[in-house]
């Protein structure tokens, strides 16, 4: 596996470990090859035919995503012939696509749009039958616009290969093939985990996050890379922020732990951040209830009260509970506060609980 072999790509020598596909070798070497059906999280599929390359000595172009690299291969990733083939593939896809990019949720984050632009595909070269299927919004998380589906199979493959949830698969044949739940049942916890992995891999606007729709497309948001605050796995993702609001969570395909994969909590568990029930100001007990207070008043009260208790009863009668939900820095500071400002070792976290 680690033995390095050599091939020529666009006239340039490239060394690579045996066992990699031509597509992987090219991407590792920084050479662009267009793809629609490929996702690093999935097995090679060879469905979209955009990643075709010419290999010296082979009569026809081959899909680089399913062809293993071999020693001594001479590859061309660009040629007038390849451009023509790719453009035709795109134009065939566009012949049955709504082409409503100006209103589409995925505009700017759509591989089909990006490649149609790149190859100058014309929208009306092929006149053919068109889908006119209704939008499916039968659940709280995932919106399906079937007319935008290019049947690349990424959603069904990630659902079955990676998550093994078996929620959706391609049904029907030929022109009528489409990803669908068993017996067309609405998505529910009975048949779906709502991990949104299908949304994360969809190359068009066919599958989108319902909660974020209309709240800002990729060009309108700031993406902030962070680490999930739920379980101890440590998944990374991007918070998509617009006007001081988190409007969506998107995958970070380079994340060392999760490689873009997320669960229901990671992908859809963000809107507590803007819940109207958040505590927004310090509260001080007064009689049976609480009254709002400024930070200055509350913190001065806390400090003086703790100091008074320490003076009267000793530092050993005061302590702190820390939290596995807080950051390393905050846990360190609480430990330091108990040891230095209070003067005891009465500090514990909830790890044992």
């Amino acid at each position: 596996m680690n033995e390095l072999i050599k091939m020529k790509i666009n006239g340039m020598d490239v060394h690579f470990p045996k066992g990699k596909t031509i597509l992987e070798v090219c991407r590792d070497a920084g050479i662009y090859i267009p793809t629609l059906c490929h996702d690093e999280r999935l097995k090679p599929y060879g469905g979209c035919r955009l990643c075709l390359v010419e290999i010296k000595g082979r009569p026809v172009p081959l899909a680089s995503c399913t062809t293993p690299g071999e020693a001594g291969m001479e590859i061309a990733t660009e040629s007038p012939k390849l451009t023509r083939l790719r453009k035709t593939v795109l134009e065939l896809l566009l012949s049955n696509h709504p082409n409503d990019c100006m209103c589409c949720e995925a505009s700017g984050d759509c591989s089909l749009q990006e490649m149609a632009y790149l190859y100058g595909a014309s929208l009306d070269r092929f006149q053919g039958e068109q889908w006119t299927l209704p939008i499916r919004e039968d659940n709280p998380f995932i919106t399906f616009e079937p007319n935008k589906c290019i049947v690349c199979g990424r959603c069904t493959r990630i659902c079955n290969e990676v998550v093994m949830a078996g929620t959706i698969d391609l049904v029907n044949r030929g022109f009528n093939a489409i990803p669908e739940t068993a017996f067309s049942k609405p998505r529910s916890l009975e048949n779906c985990e709502f991990c949104g992995q299908c949304v994360s891999t969809c190359p068009t606007g066919a599958l989108t996050d319902k909660k974020g729709r209309g709240k800002g497309r990729i060009g309108d948001v700031r993406k902030v890379k962070t680490t999930c605050s739920y379980c101890g796995t440590g998944c990374n993702f991007y918070l998509n922020v617009k006007n001081g609001k988190v409007v969506r969570v998107t995958s970070d395909l380079t994340a060392p732990v999760n490689k873009g994969n997320l669960c229901i909590k990671g992908r859809y568990g963000y809107d507590f951040i803007h819940s109207p029930e958040r505590l927004k100001t310090p509260l001080i007990r007064e009689g049976e209830g609480y009254r709002e207070a400024s930070w200055d008043e509350a913190l001065t009260l806390v400090a003086s009260k703790f100091n008074a208790l320490i003076k009267e009863h000793g530092a050993d009668k005061v302590g702190g509970f820390s939290s596995s939900r807080c950051s390393n820095e905050e846990n360190y500071l609480l430990s330091k506060w108990v040891r230095c400002a209070v003067g005891s070792n009465n500090v514990d976290n909830c790890a044992r609980v």
Partner: protein, 520 residues
């Protein structure tokens, strides 16, 4: 991980508790790994297991002793590994002689054929890995349970090589970091003991304050002292013991008794109800910082929006400390991490600029150290570097079913919610698909109690009762029921017992005796 030949999943339900870890495990299964699952519940993984060891709650040690006995009887142990890297096998060998399969079958309820097959699949594979979860640790014998698992791995030498070893799936996002960085009564940050004069001296020099040489009180002990009137002030940072601790009646009494209670949280919780002062917290989206995950990887969180209440926790603690006469003057969390690196050797090489793109796994002692992915490749962390076998006995759960409380309640998590639910219950969609607590009960038990699916039932234990609806499912075996603790309207931990692992203080969340009755 995808290269392992056998996966032994013990007391862990990763498809619910750690969904993304489960994807790695699923990949291993897709690559042909054999799967052994020890779990009283028929989980997703148990359904797909080559062998499902459907043990009775509380019988982990008996099961593991039985498996080890089968391995030793058949000569499936790794003799080379045992002689080079371990000591004390003979004591273990003598102990497991007391666990013949007939006895193990009686204690665990697992058929002997399944135990033999599990032993064979684990021992005879080239690369076997054990993944365990809170089903191991949340028992009064939690520490011994974990040791028994270590015995098994050591007997077979499945440790210290890639795709082998023991992986404990930790619960919360930063449970690792919260242990590493010193909010523990007996250790300063970096597991440096308060009883060690050199450690105390180092921190005294850096912090300018003498450290007390006696360990402080654990949280449980602080609460116990509160009920006796012996403890006066507590600051609770982002925790909800009044919902998530076991034996809630006792916890609430403690929180009522303490003179002055400050609770910092992002939402009102069961615990804030007892506070004298409530301080608003900042969510992970509102501050810079780091979390350390279950594989010791220190990773960044980043401030995406301004703190909703205007201040993040690190600023709040700094200001309280300064007002109390011990100044803390940090202008950014990165400065706190620099201070941590200077005092905590395992974090010595960590700084924000190094983890900008990708996190680093500790131990990382110096700025040029790449971090450490695999521990114990050649030596174990004991004097001499050899691992020691432990001879352990079955003890069972502290509270076992009887005539009045005939069922075992197992508590745990489901994928959709998180702990006290204060975050997930406020997320659109999640609250919709899982709106309420349910008790999972087998069709056998439901049938004999006259309970139908989604009927309202009363679940009671010696400590309290809750009303929930019943989910009749084959995930539960006859004799045990399951509940989560995510919902405020049905506080499951009113039921759970006060029993704990005496070594770690971890409560026995995984087993208490209850009665289930239909509510008419």
């Amino acid at each position: 991980m995808p290269d392992m030949d056998t996966l032994f999943l013990f007391g862990s339900n990763p498809t619910e508790g750690h969904p993304i870890v489960s994807l790695h495990l699923k990949k291993a299964l897709a690559n042909g790994a054999k799967l052994v699952v020890a779990d009283p519940r028929k989980t997703w993984m148990a359904r797909r297991a080559d062998v499902w060891l459907n043990l009775k709650p509380g019988s982990n040690i008996a099961l593991l002793n039985g498996i080890i006995r089968v391995i030793l009887d058949n000569g499936w142990e790794n003799a080379e590994f045992i002689s080079k890297r371990t000591e004390g096998l003979e004591k273990l060998r003598a102990k497991v002689q007391e666990y013949d399969l007939e006895r193990v079958e009686a204690l665990t309820g697992v058929d002997r054929d399944k135990i033999i097959e599990a032993a064979r699949l684990y021992a005879q594979a080239e690369k076997s890995m054990i993944v365990y979860g809170l089903g191991v640790t949340e028992h009064q014998t939690g520490t011994e349970n974990a040791m028994a698992i270590a015995n098994l791995a050591l007997v077979c030498g499945h440790i210290g090589r890639p795709a082998t070893g023991i992986m404990a799936l930790r619960g919360q996002n930063n449970v690792q970091g919260a242990s590493d960085l010193g909010p523990l009564p007996a250790t300063l940050p970096g597991y440096q003991s308060v009883t060690d004069p050199q450690c105390r001296e180092k921190f005294k020099k850096a912090w300018g304050v003498a450290i007390k040489d006696k360990p402080g009180l654990k949280s449980v002990e602080m609460l116990d002292e509160c009920t006796k009137g012996n403890f006066k002030g507590i600051f609770i940072l982002g925790e909800d013991p009044a919902q998530t601790d076991p034996d809630l009646v006792h916890v609430r009494k403690a929180l009522e008794s303490v003179d002055f209670l400050v609770v910092l949280d992002i939402f009102p919780t069961e615990t804030t109800k007892y506070a004298d002062v409530i301080l608003p917290g900042a969510s992970f989206a509102e501050k810079d910082g780091t979390f350390t995950n279950g594989e010791r990887r220190v990773q960044r969180i980043r401030k995406a929006i301004e703190p909703v209440a205007g201040m993040a926790e690190w600023e709040v603690i700094s200001r309280i400390s300064t007002l109390m006469g011990y100044p803390m003057t940090y202008s950014h969390p990165s400065e706190i991490m620099d201070e941590i690196a200077s005092l905590v050797p395992i974090y010595g090489g960590i700084s924000y600029d190094r983890i900008e793109q990708k996190g680093i796994q500790w131990p990382c002692p110096t700025k040029d150290h790449p971090g450490t992915t695999t521990l114990y490749t050649d030596l174990f962390s004991r004097p001499g570097g050899l691992a020691q076998f432990m001879a352990l006995d079955h003890q069972g759960s502290a509270e076992v079913p009887d005539e009045t409380y005939p069922l075992v309640l197992i508590t745990g998590r489901i994928r959709e919610h998180y702990n006290n639910g204060s975050m997930t219950r406020r997320c659109a969609g999640i609250a919709e698909v899982v709106p309420e607590e349910l008790v999972e009960i087998s069709s056998e038990d439901a049938g004999s109690l006259g309970i139908a699916h989604m009927d309202w039932v009363k679940v009671s234990s010696r400590r309290g009762e809750v009303q929930v609806r019943a989910k009749v499912t084959d995930r539960s075996q006859a004799g045990s029921v399951f509940m989560t603790f995510h919902h405020q309207n049905a506080l499951t931990n009113v039921l759970t017992s006060e029993h704990r692992d005496p070594i770690t203080g971890t409560p026995e969340y995984k087993a208490c005796a209850v009665r289930v009755e239909k509510v008419s």
